[in-house]
């Protein structure tokens, strides 16, 4: 009985932390007020303050975790909504995201390998360019650590959002379709949000690239990892 109450409390606390951080984000739109970051920090501080282990938290958290799978399935819908752009620009978008997937996997893997990190860390950095739920599934199936992957995904997302004006200037990325593919392939949903604020076509392309990239990376990551490691 006690365990059930603890689990329910953890679920309730997670929902409350999310809703609270969402409200904060609506009032103060900043990179550091991104809801996942604020909610995660609030929960971590709470756990540390009351000396609660991650395992105890996860007795409730695992029920939220279980919905990650269907949440990824749901991404089929925005892809379907943008099917007209997808059809018209299929070849450039597909080629661009495939190049992005290859570059992202191999550069992350090789650089961390050359720096001498353990294979567990390397497996965790490999899927960093794709949206968190998919990255975590890839990490899980190749032997990475899911929470570490979540951090690398955040680095790719938030980092990409911060450095993209510089990257675009120095790489001569001026076309809206090219920018959208670049943002979606490199910085998933966070990049897509930044694209959406600038231009709705760029944002839509970024959405499509983000979802395609998730599919492509999950298909090629296991094989490419074996090949390069």
């Amino acid at each position: 009985m006690n365990a059930v109450i603890v689990a329910l409390f953890m679920i309730g606390f997670t929902i409350a932390a999310y809703i609270g951080s969402l409200r904060l984000y609506r009032k103060h739109r900043r990179i550091y007020t991104t809801p996942v970051i604020v909610a995660t920090l609030v929960i971590i501080v709470f756990l540390l303050l009351f000396n609660i282990s991650y395992e105890t938290y996860m007795t409730g958290g695992k029920w939220v975790d279980r919905l990650l799978g269907p949440a990824v399935v749901a991404l089929a819908y925005p892809l379907y909504q943008h099917r007209d752009i997808l059809r018209k620009m299929l070849v450039p978008i597909m080629t661009g995201t495939t190049v992005g997937a290859l570059v992202g996997i191999s550069s992350g893997l090789l650089l961390s390998k050359w720096a001498g990190f353990s294979s567990q860390i390397i497996y965790s950095i490999v899927p960093k360019s794709v949206t968190t739920p998919v990255a975590m599934s890839i990490s899980e199936s190749t032997g990475g650590v899911m929470p570490l992957t979540a951090v690398f995904v955040m680095i790719a997302g938030i980092g990409g959002m911060l450095i993209h004006p510089l990257v675009m200037r120095y790489s001569g990325l001026t076309h809206r379709i090219g920018r959208g593919v670049g943002m979606g392939s490199a910085s998933h949903a966070i990049g897509t949000a930044a694209s959406m604020e600038r231009d709705s076509l760029e944002g839509s392309i970024s959405t499509v690239a983000m979802i395609l990239s998730a599919v492509i990376v999950s298909i090629i990551a296991p094989g490419l990892t074996l090949l390069l490691l």
């Binding site: 971590i44 756990l47 991650y54 080629t95 661009g96 650089l111 990190f117 790489s171």
Partner: protein, 123 residues
């Protein structure tokens, strides 16, 4: 047809869960590395594209999940408390590697796409 969101959204999420389970089943059956969730995504995209499933059957639940996608990975992200030590000392390098690799992906994916689009526009 349906009015009450509190009923319709959980039902539609349950339907998404079934598609996810189907994807997971296919993954296990063929011993694939592709996550079951991504196979589920492809199944749903195919069902929608061939009009085998009308949009309204899933629309509210799907939009709800997509809008609140970050919520579903909060518990996994909290797991970083067990791995914070990875980023100490030499681990700081990992942040640099992540950033550099991200910039590379953005520039390369974007440039390849831009080159192909411009060539098409000129043709």
């Amino acid at each position: 047809m349906f009015k009450d969101k509190a009923i319709i959204i959980p039902i539609q999420i349950a339907m998404l869960y079934l598609i996810y389970l189907a994807g997971k089943g296919i993954q296990n059956l063929f011993d694939l590395f592709i996550p079951g969730s991504v196979i589920g995504l492809l199944i749903l995209f195919t069902l929608l594209s061939f009009k085998l499933v009308p949009e309204w059957i899933l629309q509210q639940g799907v939009s709800f999940m997509v809008r609140h996608l970050p919520f579903f990975f909060i518990p996994a992200t909290v797991g970083i408390i067990s791995y914070a030590y990875v980023f100490k000392g030499k681990g700081v390098l990992l942040i640099g590697i992540g950033l550099f690799s991200t910039a590379l992906v953005m520039a390369m994916a974007g440039r390849v796409t831009q080159w192909m689009v411009k060539r098409r526009e000129e043709a």
